[in-house]
Amino acid sequence: MNTLIKKTAGLMGALALATGLATAQAATPSVTEIIERANQASYYAGQDGRSEARMRIEDSRGNTQTRQFTVLRRNLEDQGRQQYLVVFSRPSEYRDTVFLVEKNPAAEDDRWLYLPDMDLVRRIAPGDKRTSFVGAHLFYEDISGRHLEDDEHRLVEETAEHFVLESTPKDARSVEFARYRTWINKDTWLPERIEYTNASGNVYRIMENAGVEVIDGYPTPTMMRVQDLESGGQTIVQFRGIRYDLGIPASVFTERSLRNPPRQWLEGR
């Protein structure tokens, strides 16, 4: 944990030190402002973006699986509605499988999965969001972000580098956690660590972001890890080919892209 923070700070370099000093002297922002800025940095950077990702999924016995995919994203509103298109290339079982999300923070997200072998467009039930995303330790909800309104947030600690928030679900039955803590970097506003606690008070799931680089002006994690402490497994995600503000048109985020993935934008590096 400490090494992770140091590395991140190191990456940020002199800029981080300079602004860090300024932040420390400023008044503490409100909880709402912190979560909104963190949400902005994590999921809303730029008007749109693309990224290639690969995941290594490890179980407790050391068996590994991989997934490789490209994510396209487009914002429709500030901190509001968004569209995601996720197109898989590996492994061969998932090739050309496409996941389309219309994120709608005011209501439920709309999600579709296209299975090319049967030419089938399957719609995913709204309740089904904290289950494994294509076999990884990530959940569907981790890909496009959990709605801020679904939890109560409060600031529990402020360190030199982080705001530490604790969030509790408004509808405890809809989730498997009792609460979670988020360490938000004061300079980048990126959550660097999230610890999920279960009803018996044990931390059972940890999510971390690392390898932060400034890309097109936006601090961006290039690695992510989700550990499942109960099963002993973990998933590591690496990102590359990240770009922002490409001007991806709305037509990319439609059913058309399920059968005909938009190669111009997927391969745009």
Partner: protein, 461 residues
Amino acid sequence: MAEWKQWLTAAGLITSLVIPPALADDWGSDDSWGSDDSGWADSWDDDEQTSRLPFELRGFYEAAIGVHLRSNPVVEEALGGKEYNLGENRVQLTLDGDWRSARYRLSGDLVADGVEQAFRGELREALVSFPLGERIDVRAGRQVLTWGTGDLLFINDLFPKDWESFLIGRDEDYLKGTSDALRTTLYTDQVTVDLVWSPLFNPDNYPDGGRLSYYSPMAGGPGVGGQTAASVSDQATEPDDFPKDGELALRLSTRHQGVEYELYGFRGFYPDPQDQRALMAGTGKATHPRLNVYGASVRSPLGPGIANAEVGFYDSVDNRSGDRAGLPHSEWRLLLGYDWEAITNLNVGLQYYLEWTQDHEALSERMDAAGMAEMAGEEYRHLLTTRLTYTQLRGDLMWSLFAFVSPSDDDFYLRPSVRYRVSDALTLSAGGNVFGGKEESSFFGQFEKDSNAWVRARYRF
């Protein structure tokens, strides 16, 4: 001892195949988790592939076996004493590529079939797809086509189905047969229009004797109904006049505030040879009667799940008055469904399905007079289905039960299965197809003796 050594060598070879070398070295270990980025640049899979070939090649090898759960003398006789109706080794190769703005795909299976004791090739896909201007996509060639909202129930999806594969225990993907078709899709701001033209009629691969027995009202001679494994297709012809006997399928779809609305139209033929006139008169073979279908569907999130409704009118063009013997009657078909995650990792799908035969009284009277009253069926055929899916190990282990139950026909069809994804390459699965019913003539009841259990192993590359 020597055998053990051979076995170990083979196991070692398989292990080295199962674990791709790219994974072995360059992902960081637990502590550093690859935060030095030297490990990334060279090992993303697509880089190596695209530099070598202009297209991409993938596929799988699969071994499958399915055995009867009950003695089924008619099928076992038809199969030369075999008590299994699925036993095959299959290799599928798929080739994908781009040329300018066009995309092509060629996919075929090579099957060593132990039931038929023969090799055969099956062309699954041979298609090219390309945009035509800004708003039109075209896909031409052999392809798999699907639409509609049902789960294993199809009202407005009249594209070919391979029921035989489905019933004997092949992968569920094989239920969708192939069409030789031209699909054109127009995207406008409001509506998406799909038009599929199949220049030649593509029938279903319906239960055709041989591997599957079925009920025939004349199995034991005129007026003596019973179980048979006689070939249906031997006694049937297919519409094959080009272009008159082609098929057209149309779909209009739109979405408003998260709700999907669709309208459908179909002009073609019944997918199984239901025109029995010539056969009954002893003057020829059965054939596929003309069929038009008009329908609509809606699909929307509702509460924690997804709700869907679909309706279709099956217009039996040559028997609109319902008074002609040997031809199917028109029907209304209706489907209501709901699917949700009841508890974490347990998904429940429920469906109600109705077939309402028009002019059923006339049909009943005719069948009665012909001494095969059981073939008239019920005026209202009700069907309930449930799909229960429970996943463990983040989906690597999946338990599933799909059940069809018909209160009107007093019959059922259960599809239990378990699938274990050992690695990205290897998947093992086992399951069954269990049929039963009060009458041996009912839709699922007729397959009672075809009940089977199967296992499959698939290795992808």
